[in-house]
């Protein structure tokens, strides 16, 4: 059939059952993204005959004679469509994976439509921004600016990739053509716990187009963890590439490698497997009790599992003082049990890897990873390869939120490439993201607090139980982090902490923004609010009385003898003041009128260490180029975190130039020696610090070089080194050899950052509806390097946390099956759900970070859910203990009914 794409005539024959998106990407129109493949997210939006449609559900057989317009057809970087320009000017994106669909959709809007954006944009999901900047972009608001030479740090310069993203030119993980590419699909376990007795792959292997079928018999016998950290021993070795024992539904049973995705998926269906179904356990409290089915009992000490005979991945117990005695003597005590649900990261780009062998025979993997170096190292471990025979890199990644600090597709692709010698791709579906990709750990948290009548905390105990799911991956680290800063934030002489991370036959849990802190902070800040209420003390005052101040020891689950965690700066007090002042300003929406509406306000507080403990490493390089340009090499990845922008700012500031002269190569094991990766909010404070050091060194080298050429006392400026009246140009400096500097940072010492959030809400007691009337967050991020980007991180974290607090829930059936495996059944906040948040910055300057900056990526998420819970409590007079505080749950709460698990009733 013939049709037009962006004015160009094409002729192609779609297969029956194919959709427009597949046809477009097959014709190298990679600007059309695959986010959900179900018509829910809008990332694939295109115009057909001028009308916007979701190309992932548009039947391709109708295309004859059609005129299709993609975001590339709207404009080019040289001649952008006004909306493309305004998305750049407004900083209306973070990862940018949704942006093409946003722009295509908005390109059809009239002026009047701009008053109706929440309704019109409900078919476009953004997981990163919180939508305020997207509304700004559609309405033509500029939020970015240009910085003069040397002035970049501290100004809201644009993300370097902005125009490429807005015009559909930026490549994400799978946006490139590879000829004769094979595709991989897996057969998932139908059982929550089973042993494979036999597996017959002959029918699949006999199918035309099938190149390879892999089973546990093909798997290396090396146990590893999908969770990745600097030290591989941080995570339990309990996983195989393919395991003869299946411990959750959907776990890999077999993998087919075939000429097309469809062939691979069809071949999976004819694999015959005989299973021995094993007893399964789905409740962590039951799983840790004697007699429960054991998931990893056969594994020894070398797997570093807490106690395989009790299904405990890890546990922690610690105390100072005497909590029981202190509670006895307390004027007021509060106790409760809070629960949190499974959350899907819902990054719009699903996990995917494409692998091949390069000319030298090296294994090359292009993957959607936050941690390419750690993935490479672990693949070398699993497959017995030398580091110089493996290259792992990431193009721009379409969102992460912790979900891509995990080795989930790379191992299978590596195996398939090594076996076939051919290029192989494995792309997870959105359904896979819900069913088999680790979710945020569900937790049950008991908190007991005691205080004297003047509000001084006397006793503080936390008992935390978390469902690790079938494999340990991040469940040790998340457990320890969950009971760290959440508890250390408060000064109290008597503390007790117990925590257990327990295996079940549910799908695995894993790293998620906040890394366990958010769950415990929800409980602790709720309990603190209740305690203040019991004592008749204002919640802000309660925090002022009890939060740590510089000099106080930070005591979480343990009293650490030696810690590298410092008060590099301290803005907690400012955060409290800023939020309290904003909340009392009277700003915000008016409450709905009516006898069933109740209004309330509440706040929550969070502390976070600026980076993970025990070392986070980054090597960086910077080289002067002719013409006064700079070429930066960093290992860390860009997935909407904005570190690339900040890196250009740090280099430009140190070298007295402008950001447009700085180019970055990144997230590739070929570029620098090592980088632990983009997690733990480390992109600015580790790689950025290393890069700033490299840039400063290069500045000195340039001055030195100029002096050696006879031009002393030089000062670096945009076009070279100025010595008196003489400008020694970059080209002159480079005549006697290259000028390259390296920088390194080891992630220590660390500092702490603070966030306070407050809400004023109205709750309809008749329906459970919550309306947010005012939302305020103050962040202590140290010296703010890019105010607009930081605002975006805070708004995005707030939006994701509002999703967690009110809407999102990966629901299981109680037997390990996920019931919500599509966006239509798992409600990621839409534009209509997210209020604008007033964002304030504390004025601090940190001694540890680059130019006084602190990290601020995970942190803004953490105080939001308790702030909202406390506001709802204030409004309705009853405390919600369970997330999400969905309308049906709140209605049950206000009706005096049991809240628990309404969807399973």
């Amino acid at each position: 059939m013939k049709f037009e794409i962006n004015g160009e005539s094409v002729e192609t024959t779609p297969l029956p059952g194919q959709v427009l998106r597949t046809v477009l990407r097959g014709l190298d129109h990679f600007e059309v993204k695959k986010g959900c493949d179900a018509g829910d997210c809008g990332a694939c939006s295109v115009l057909v005959g001028g009308e916007p449609v979701h190309s992932c559900i548009y039947p391709a057989h109708r295309l004859e004679g059609a005129q299709v317009t993609t975001v590339q057809g709207l404009g080019t970087p040289e001649h952008p469509h006004p909306l493309q320009q305004s998305f750049v000017d407004a900083a209306g994106f973070q990862c940018g994976f949704c942006t093409a669909g946003m722009i295509v959709t908005a390109s059809t809007f009239t002026e009047e439509d701009k008053d109706d954006l929440p309704r019109l944009m409900k078919g476009n999901i953004c997981r990163c921004t919180g939508y305020r900047s997207i509304k700004d972009a559609i309405c033509g608001v500029t939020n970015t600016d240009h910085a003069a030479a040397g002035q970049a740090a501290g100004s809201s310069v644009r993300a370097p990739a902005g125009m490429r993203i807005a015009t559909g030119r930026e490549e994400y993980t799978l946006d490139l053509k590879t000829t004769s590419l094979l595709h991989l699909a897996i057969l998932g376990s139908p059982h929550a716990h089973a042993r494979i007795l036999s597996i017959d792959t002959s029918a699949a292997e006999a199918m035309e187009g099938v190149q390879l079928v892999l089973t546990h018999l093909d798997s290396p016998g090396v146990l590893f963890s999908t969770g990745r950290h600097e030290h591989r021993t941080d995570d339990p070795d309990d996983t195989l590439v393919m395991d003869p024992v299946l411990r959750f539904r959907g776990q890999r049973v077999a993998a087919v490698v075939a000429d097309t995705v469809a062939l691979a998926q069809l071949a999976v269906k004819v694999i015959a497997v005989e299973y021995e179904v094993l007893p399964a356990v789905f409740d962590p409290d039951v799983a840790r009790a004697p007699g429960a089915p054991q998931l990893h009992a056969e594994k020894g000490e070398e797997s570093r599992i807490g106690d395989p005979t009790r299904n405990t991945v890890a546990e922690a117990h610690g105390h100072i003082g005497d909590v029981e005695a202190a509670l006895e003597a307390s004027a007021a005590t509060v106790s409760g049990t809070w629960t949190t649900q499974r959350i899907s990261h819902a990054a719009l780009e699903t996990h995917g890897t494409r692998g091949w062998l390069d000319k030298e025979g090296r294994l090359v993997l292009r993957t959607s990873s936050q941690v390419p170096y750690l993935v490479r190292d672990e693949l070398c471990h699993i497959f017995g390869l030398e580091r110089d025979t493996v290259r792992v890199f990431a193009a721009r990644v379409g969102g992460g939120f912790g979900g891509k600090q995990e080795l989930l597709t790379e191992d299978l692709v590596a195996l398939a490439v090594l076996r076939t010698g051919r290029a192989v791709q494995y792309e997870l579906t959105r359904e896979d993201q819900f069913r088999i990709v680790p979710v945020r750990h569900p937790m049950r948290i008991n908190v007991t607090l005691g205080a004297s009548s003047d509000g001084v905390l006397t006793a503080f105990s936390v008992d935390q139980l978390m469902d690790a799911g079938a494999y340990g991956n991040h469940s040790i680290g998340v457990m320890f982090h969950s009971i760290g800063e959440s508890i250390a934030l408060y000064r109290c002489a008597n503390k007790r902490v117990d925590a257990q991370s327990v295996y079940t036959n549910n799908p695995p849990s894993g790293a998620f923004r906040g890394y366990g802190l958010g769950q415990v902070i929800f409980a602790v800040e709720s309990a603190m609010d209740e305690l203040a209420r019991t004592l008749g003390i204002d919640p802000f005052e309660m925090r002022r009385i009890n939060t740590i101040v510089p000099g106080d020891p930070m005591i979480g689950h343990a009293v650490e003898e030696e810690s590298d965690l410092l008060y590099g700066s301290y803005g907690l007090d400012q955060c409290l003041d800023l939020v309290e002042t904003a909340l009392s300003s009277g700003r915000g929406l008016d409450a709905p009128t009516g006898p069933t509406w109740r209004v309330g306000s509440g706040m929550g507080l969070a502390m976070i260490a600026s980076m993970p403990p025990r070392g986070h490493f980054a090597d960086t390089t910077i080289a002067l180029q002719p013409g006064g340009r700079y070429d930066i090499g960093v290992g860390t990845a860009e997935f909407g975190n904005g570190t690339t922008t900040v890196h250009t700012q740090l280099a430009a500031s140190a070298l007295n130039t402008t950001v447009d002269r700085v180019s970055i190569r990144q997230s590739d094991t070929d570029i620098v020696g090592h980088d632990t990766g983009a997690f733990g909010s480390a992109g600015v404070v580790v790689a950025g610090k290393a890069l700033h050091a490299a840039s400063t060194s290069l500045n000195a080298l340039m001055v030195e070089r100029a002096a050696s050429l006879g031009f002393p006392d030089g000062v670096v400026e945009a076009d070279g080194v100025r010595s008196g009246d003489r400008l020694v140009t970059a080209a002159e400096l480079l005549e006697s050899g290259p000028l390259v500097a390296i920088g390194y940072h080891d992630g220590t010492p660390r500092t702490v950052a603070f966030n306070a959030h407050a809400f004023r809400v109205a709750v309809d007691t008749a329906s459970g509806e919550v309306r947010i009337l005012q939302s305020v967050q103050a962040a202590d991020a140290g010296n703010v390097l890019n105010p607009e980007q930081l605002r975006g991180q805070i708004e995005g974290g707030t939006a994701q946390a509002i999703g967690t607090a009110l809407y999102e829930e990966v629901i299981l059936d109680g037997e390990g099956t996920v019931l919500t495996a599509a966006f239509r059944n798992y409600h990621v906040p839409q534009m209509a759900d997210i209020p604008d948040t007033e964002v304030f910055f504390a004025e601090t300057h940190d001694v540890t970070g680059p130019l006084g900056a602190k990290s601020m990526s995970e942190a803004p998420y953490n105080p939001v859910a308790p702030a909202l819970a406390n506001a709802i409590r204030d409004a309705i007079g009853t405390r919600p203990f369970e997330l999400p505080m969905s309308r049906d749950r709140l209605w049950r709460l206000t009706s005096g009914l049991p809240v628990r698990n309404p969807h399973l009733a």
Binding site: V53, H54, I57, T105, D888, R892
Partner: protein, 269 residues
């Protein structure tokens, strides 16, 4: 998503060309069909090539072809006396799907998908619209939409039958109506949707959908009092449960909305 088991798509231009082999099913806009894995479907028969007039107004009925897109339906201007006309927009906006989907999705497709939250079902049931069904033997049969949908993803179409059109009686479009809907989020998939229609003869029909497995109608010869309405709602025992709302909440919201509608349409508080 690509439907990988589909081997053929046929686009009939006349009724005679419509036929279904085993594994073949009718295709409307495709926005639902292509949004989920369709196990065992080997062929699609695309009804959108039949060239059916999307919307016609006869002496007695507003006739909407099954293949009329939701976008076309939503742009239908009101005619004199169509006091119920706002219901069209209210129901269209009750779709979880955005306006972009409306450009492709069809009215008949929404009804035949027969999900509890299908708002084209809510609209047609509330207006006591009639399904026009093309039978295998080349004839037509008619039945109320309210009883056409029998359960979650279940309806009265026999294999090989297709929904041809929906007839909305003009008389009912002239009735006064009231509309209430709630979801777990502002624009989310319907938890429950309640429409009241007060006819010229003073009778009231309350149609509940979304919260129930299939549309449920409560009929009254005149505006009931509070108690009579409440006990009628209470007589519905099957409330739907999925990720979009707990059944007891859907029940309570339906009862609340029914009472609000009764008052709005003139009932005594």
């Amino acid at each position: 998503m690509d439907l990988i088991t589909v081997r053929e798509i046929r686009v009939p231009r006349t009724r005679e060309e419509i036929s279904f082999a085993p594994g073949e099913i009718p295709l409307g806009g495709g926005t639902w069909l292509f949004s989920e894995v369709q196990e065992g479907i080997t062929g699609l028969v695309d009804l959108t090539g039949l060239g059916w007039q999307p919307i016609e107004v006869t002496d007695e009925n507003l006739v909407v072809a099954a293949t009329c897109t939701i976008a076309e339906f939503s742009r239908l201007p009101a005619q004199d006396g169509w006091t119920a006309h706002p219901l069209i927009s209210q129901c269209v906006n009750s779709l979880l799907a955005s306006f972009k989907i409306w450009n492709v999705a069809t009215v008949g497709g929404n009804i035949c998908t027969s999900l509890p939250a299908g708002p084209m079902i809510s609209l047609a049931a509330a207006l006591d619209a009639t399904a026009v069904i093309w039978t295998i033997d080349g004839h037509e049969r008619r039945m109320p939409i309210a009883s056409f949908v029998t359960g979650v993803r279940e309806n009265e179409l026999a294999p090989g039958e297709i929904l041809r059109a929906i007839e909305y009686p003009l008389e009912n479009l002239r009735s006064r109506t009231a509309f209430r809907r709630i979801a777990l989020s502002t624009l989310g998939r319907t938890g429950t949707l309640v429409i009241g229609r007060l006819d010229a003869d003073g009778s009231l029909v309350v149609t509940i959908s979304g919260g129930t497995y299939r549309p449920r109608q409560l009929r009254f010869d005149e505006l009931p009092d509070r108690g009579a309405l409440a006990s009628a709602v209470a007589s519905i025992h099957e409330w739907y449960s999925d990720a979009h709302g707990a059944p007891d909440w859907r029940h309570a919201m339906s009862a609340k909305f029914a009472e609000e509608i009764r008052i709005e349409l003139g009932g005594i508080a």
